[in-house]
C-alpha cells in the first residue's frame, strides 16, 4: 500500500514536472496558516501512514511522513518515551511530515534541542520525482552532506518528505511546574541566570505577569531545583500544552481573530523593550511571541529582532504582504536559490511558501 502511495506521489511530481504544474504538499492542513502563498494542486501525504520501525530499546522511531503526531507520541508514551522537542501540533490531525517541514519545536526546545537536532534520517521525493534516502537510524553519522537536517524547516520546498527517523528520549521520571509572579524583564533575567547552572529546567514561559517553569528529571534533582528557583507548585494550571498548540488565551486574538502573531527569535538576553505588543516569552528569553495591541510596522519588529541577533517571522496573519520571513542578504538568497534549483529544478514544490522568489 505504501509502495503504491509513494509511486503515486512520484507520478504526481513527475507529471507536474513535465506539465509545468505546481504542487502544494499537505498533511492534515493544521499548518496551512504558516508561511507564504499556498500555490498549486494539493499533494496529500496522508496515504503515507504508519510507524515503520520502533524498537524502544533503540531510542529511535521511524515513521511515514503522513502519520499523525498523536499516533507516534502515544506509541512512544506507551514505552515510556517521547519526542524531546515537544512538537507543536496546532490541530488534532497534525502529521510528522508537517512539523518537520515547518521546523517547529515546542516548549522543551531550549532545554532539549530543536526538531532538526533529532532528525537522524529522511526519505524524500525530490522535485524530479526521484525517491532518495539521507542519513539513517544511528545517532551519529557524518557520511556526506547533512541533507536530512536541511529538510527540517525547508517548508517542503526541497522535497516531499515521505519517511523520517527521529531520536527519542525516555520520559522524565518526575515533572513539576512552578509559578513565580514577576514581570517579563525579571523573568528573563532569572531564566538567563538559571541557564548556566545544572538545573533540570525543561521549559519556561512568561505571560501575563507570571513566570512558569517546568522541571523534569529524577525526583531528588527536581525537588532540590523547585526549592532553589522558588515560586509555588502549579501543576494543575500548567500551560505547556496550550502554549505548544497556541490554544492559550494569549494567542486567541491571532488564532481566532484578525490580529497578526509575530514570532521573534532573538538572543535570550534581549531586553523587554516596549514594541507596542502583548508578549509571551518562551525558551528562557530566546523566543518572543508578539500580539500587537495596535498595528505595528513589520520593519520595526524586524529591525529590533536583527539588532538582537535574530529575526522576526509573521507567524499568523491575514495580510502577509510584509513578507512572512525576514528577507535574506543577497549572497544568502543566492545560495538558497541554487539549492532550490538543485532539489526542485522545475520549481514545483510549495512554490512561494518560503520566499516569494521560489
Amino acid at each position: 500500500m505504501t509502495a503504491a502511495a509513494i509511486d503515486a506521489l512520484q507520478d504526481a511530481v513527475r507529471a507536474a514536472a513535465s506539465g509545468g504544474g505546481r504542487l502544494r504538499i499537505r498533511g492534515s492542513g493544521s499548518k496551512d496558516f504558516y508561511g507564504g502563498a499556498l500555490e498549486g494542486d494539493v499533494l496529500d501525504t496522508r496515504a503515507l501512514r504508519g510507524i515503520v520501525a520502533y524498537a524502544p530499546t533503540e531510542l529511535v522511531v521511524t515513521a511515514r511522513a503522513g502519520t499523525q503526531l498523536a499516533e507516534i507520541e502515544d506509541e512512544l508514551a506507551r514505552h515510556g518515551q517521547m519526542l524531546a522537542f515537544e512538537p507543536p501540533r496546532h490541530g488534532p490531525g497534525a502529521t510528522l511530515g508537517g512539523v518537520v517541514a515547518c521546523g517547529f519545536s515546542g516548549p522543551r526546545r531550549a532545554a532539549a534541542g530543536a526538531v532538526r537536532d533529532f532528525v537522524l534520517g529522511v526519505r524524500i521525493v525530490d522535485g524530479t520525482g526521484e525517491a532518495l534516502a539521507f542519513g539513517g537510524q544511528v545517532i551519529k553519522n557524518v557520511a556526506g552532506f547533512d541533507v536530512s537536517r536541511l529538510m527540517a524547516g525547508a517548508l517542503g520546498t526541497l522535497g516531499v518528505l515521505t519517511e523520517i527517523s527521529l531520536k527519542c528520549v525516555p520520559l522524565p521520571r518526575v515533572e513539576r511546574t512552578r509559578a513565580i509572579d514577576c514581570d517579563a524583564a525579571d523573568a528573563i533575567r532569572r531564566c538567563n541566570e538559571w541557564g548556566g547552572r545544572p538545573l533540570p529546567i525543561s521549559a519556561t514561559c512568561h505571560v501575563a505577569g507570571r513566570l512558569w517553569v517546568r522541571l523534569s528529571g529524577a525526583g531528588p534533582a527536581v525537588s532540590a531545583a523547585a526549592v532553589e528557583i522558588g515560586g509555588a507548585d502549579a501543576d494543575d494550571a500548567a500551560p505547556w500544552r496550550a502554549i505548544r498548540d497556541q490554544t492559550h488565551p494569549f494567542f486567541a486574538p491571532a488564532v481566532t481573530g484578525p490580529v497578526p502573531l509575530w514570532r521573534l527569535s532573538v538572543r535570550s538576553t534581549a531586553p523587554c523593550d516596549d514594541l507596542g505588543c502583548d508578549t509571551l516569552v518562551e525558551w528562557g528569553g530566546a523566543l518572543r511571541w508578539l500580539v500587537p495591541r495596535a498595528p505595528v510596522e513589520a520593519s520595526r519588529l524586524r529591525a529590533w529582532a536583527a539588532a538582537h541577533g535574530g529575526h522576526a517571522t509573521l507567524y499568523r496573519a491575514q495580510d502577509k504582504s510584509p513578507g512572512v520571513f525576514q528577507p535574506l542578504a543577497p549572497a544568502m538568497a543566492g545560495l538558497h536559490e541554487r539549492l532550490k534549483r538543485t532539489f526542485d529544478p522545475h520549481g514545483i514544490l510549495n512554490h512561494g511558501r518560503l520566499y516569494p522568489a521560489f
Partner: protein, 478 residues
C-alpha cells in the same frame, strides 16, 4: 573539468606562479612555497599517503580569505582549507595540488557571551585554546575529539568525540558560521539567536562538508556551565561482550553519562604501557565520566555501577582528583599512539563504524572475530555510548600484503556497519578513503549530494575529490 589542472592533473607551473604572485599581493609574506611547509600541509593523521599543495597561505581576516578564494576561482585553482591537520581520512591531501589555506593565524576568540552561553571564534582557534580562554567564566566547550583540533576543522568534519553522549556533536553545538563561498563571497549563517535561522538551515550544510562547499572563517558555538561535580570511574570486565552489554543497558535507561569509552584488552595492554596506567589489568575496560550536581552525579554513578556489576564488571575505581582524571583521559586520547607503539615502524589507521545500539554487541563481536582471523593487531575502542567504535588497525608497510589485509579489514568493518543499519563513519568523515563506502551507504542519494556540490561550487575548486565522488551532471538536474 578544471581548467587550471587540465584533465585533473596538477596546476601548470604558470598558473601556480601567477596565483602565488596574487597571493603575495593579498597576504604579503604569509605565503609559503617551501617544500617543508607544503609537506606538512599535504596530509592529516592516519595513513601517511598525502599529496602536496603548491602553495600555503596564512590569511588573517575574512576579507583575506575571500580574496584568496576569488584569486583561486579566477584561476580555477583548488582551495584546501587546513586547520591543524588532525583529520584521519585524507581530508587535507591536495589531490590536485592548489592552494592550502592554513587558518592557524585566524585564532582569536571574538566574543564570549557568558549570559547567553555562547561565543564566536575565528576558525583557527583550537578547542584547548578556547577552553583556556574561557577560564574564569565558569563555562566550557565540551566537544572533545581527543586531538587539539581547530573549531573550523571540527565544524567541517562534524566532529564529536568523548563527550557526545551528553553534549551532542558539532552538529548540535554550532550555532552559526561565517563562510567564504566558492565564489569568494562572505556569508553569515545562523545568528546570535541560537534557536533558529531564517530560511534554509545552511549551517547544517556547511557543518560536515569537509571544506568542499566553502571555507569557514568564524564559528559560533554553544557553551555550557562547568558542572558542579565531575567524577570519573573505571570498570574492568572479564570479556568484551559484558562491557558492551553494560553500555547498551545504560543507554537504554537514558542515564545522562557524560562519557563512556570502551578499550578492549589489546588497547588496555597498549595504553597501560604507553601511558603508564598503574594498577589496571589488560582486560576490556570502560571509562566513565559523570557531570552534574553532587546529587545527580552520585545517582548516575550508582545506577551505572549496578548495571556493570550485573554484567560481571569490577568495582568502580574512582578518580575524582582532576590530575588523576586528566591522566586517564590523556591515556584514552593517546590510545592511537599507544596502539602504534605496539609495533615500532608500523603505520596505523582507524575505522569508524556506528551502528544502532541494539546491534552494537553483534557488530563488535563479529568485528573481533574478523580481526582474529586476519592476525593483525587492531585494538577496539570507542565512544560506545553512541554505538560508535573504532579499530586502530596496525600494519607493517614493509611487509608485502600487510596493507591490503588492513584495508580489507577496514572495508569489511564499514560494510558490516552499513549492513546492520548503521554508517561507515560516525565521526571521522568521508575524506577520500571512504568515498566507496559512501556510495554503498547512500546509493542514489549520492547523486543529489553531487548536485549540491555543483550548485555551491560550480568550478569544483573547494577541496576537490573529497566527501562526494566526482561526477558529471545527471540528466534532469542542474
Amino acid at each position: 573539468m578544471n581548467a587550471a589542472t587540465g584533465t585533473r592533473g596538477r596546476p601548470t607551473a604558470e598558473a601556480i606562479r601567477s596565483v602565488t604572485e596574487g597571493l603575495r599581493l593579498t597576504c604579503g609574506d604569509r605565503v609559503a612555497t617551501g617544500q617543508a611547509i607544503r609537506d606538512q600541509h599535504g596530509h592529516g593523521e592516519g595513513l601517511a599517503d598525502g599529496a602536496l599543495p603548491d602553495v600555503v597561505v596564512f590569511p588573517q581576516s575574512n576579507d583575506e580569505v575571500a580574496a584568496v578564494v576569488r584569486l583561486c576561482a579566477a584561476a580555477r585553482m583548488p582551495v584546501i582549507a587546513f586547520g591543524v591537520g588532525t583529520s584521519l581520512e585524507g581530508h587535507v591531501a591536495a589531490l590536485y595540488g592548489g592552494v592550502c589555506i592554513d587558518l592557524s593565524q585566524m585564532n582569536r576568540v571574538l566574543e564570549v557571551h557568558a549570559e547567553d552561553l555562547d561565543c564566536r571564534v575565528q576558525a583557527g582557534v583550537t578547542r584547548e585554546q578556547l577552553n583556556a580562554e574561557l577560564k574564569g567564566t565558569g563555562l566550557f566547550f565540551p566537544i572533545d575529539p581527543g586531538a587539539n583540533a581547530t573549531l573550523g576543522g571540527m565544524a567541517s568534519t562534524r566532529a564529536s568525540g568523548t563527550n557526545a553522549v551528553r553534549y551532542g556533536t558539532m552538529r548540535e553545538n554550532v550555532l552559526g558560521l561565517t563562510v567564504v563561498t566558492a565564489d569568494g563571497r562572505i556569508v553569515h549563517t545562523g545568528g546570535r539567536a541560537r534557536k533558529s535561522s531564517a530560511g534554509y538551515d545552511l549551517t547544517r550544510l556547511f557543518v560536515g562538508a569537509e571544506g568542499t562547499l566553502g571555507v569557514i572563517t568564524e564559528v559560533a558555538v554553544r557553551l555550557y556551565g562547568i558542572p558542579e561535580a565531575i567524577s570519573a570511574a573505571v570498570c574492568q570486565f572479564p570479556d568484551l561482550k559484558s562491557a558492551v552489554d553494560s553500555v547498551i543497558v545504560a543507554m537504554q535507561l537514558g542515564v545522562p553519562v557524560a562519557r563512556i569509552e570502551l578499550l578492549d584488552a589489546v588497547q588496555m595492554d597498549a595504553s597501560i604501557r604507553y601511558s603508564r596506567l598503574d594498577g589496571f589489568a589488560a582486560k576490556p575496560t570502560l571509562f566513565f565520566e559523570f557531570h552534574g550536581t553532587e546529587a545527580s552525579v552520585r545517582e548516575q554513578a550508582e545506577t551505572i555501577e549496578s548495571i556493570t556489576g550485573d554484567h560481571g564488571g569490577s568495582a568502580f575505581r574512582w578518580t575524582s582528583s582532576p590530575e588523576e582524571r586528566s591522566k586517564l583521559w590523556k591515556a584514552r586520547h593517546n590510545a592511537y599512539y599507544a596502539a602504534l607503539a605496539l609495533a615500532p615502524g608500523s603505520q596505523a589507521f582507524a575505522t569508524d563504524a556506528c551502528v544502532p545500539i541494539s546491534r552494537l554487541a553483534d557488530c563488535v563481536m563479529e568485528t573481533q572475530a574478523d580481526i582474529d582471523a586476519t592476525g593483525l593487531i587492531a585494538p577496539i575502542l570507542g565512544h560506545v555510548g553512541d554505538g560508535n567504535f573504532h579499530l586502530v588497525i596496525v600494519f607493517d608497510p614493509a611487509r608485502p600484503g600487510d596493507r591490503e589485509k588492513a584495508e580489507g579489514l577496514a572495508a569489511r568493518a564499514s560494510l558490516r556497519a552499513i549492513a546492520m543499519g548503521g554508517t561507515c563513519t560516525g565521526e571521522h568523515g568521508i575524506g577520500v578513503h571512504k568515498l566507496d563506502a559512501l556510495v554503498v551507504e547512500h546509493g542514489e542519494a549520492v547523486s543529489l549530494m553531487q548536485a549540491v556540490k555543483r550548485a555551491l561550487d560550480p568550478l569544483d575548486i573547494m577541496n576537490p575529490g573529497k566527501t562526494v565522488p566526482h561526477a558529471g551532471p545527471v540528466a534532469g538536474r542542474p
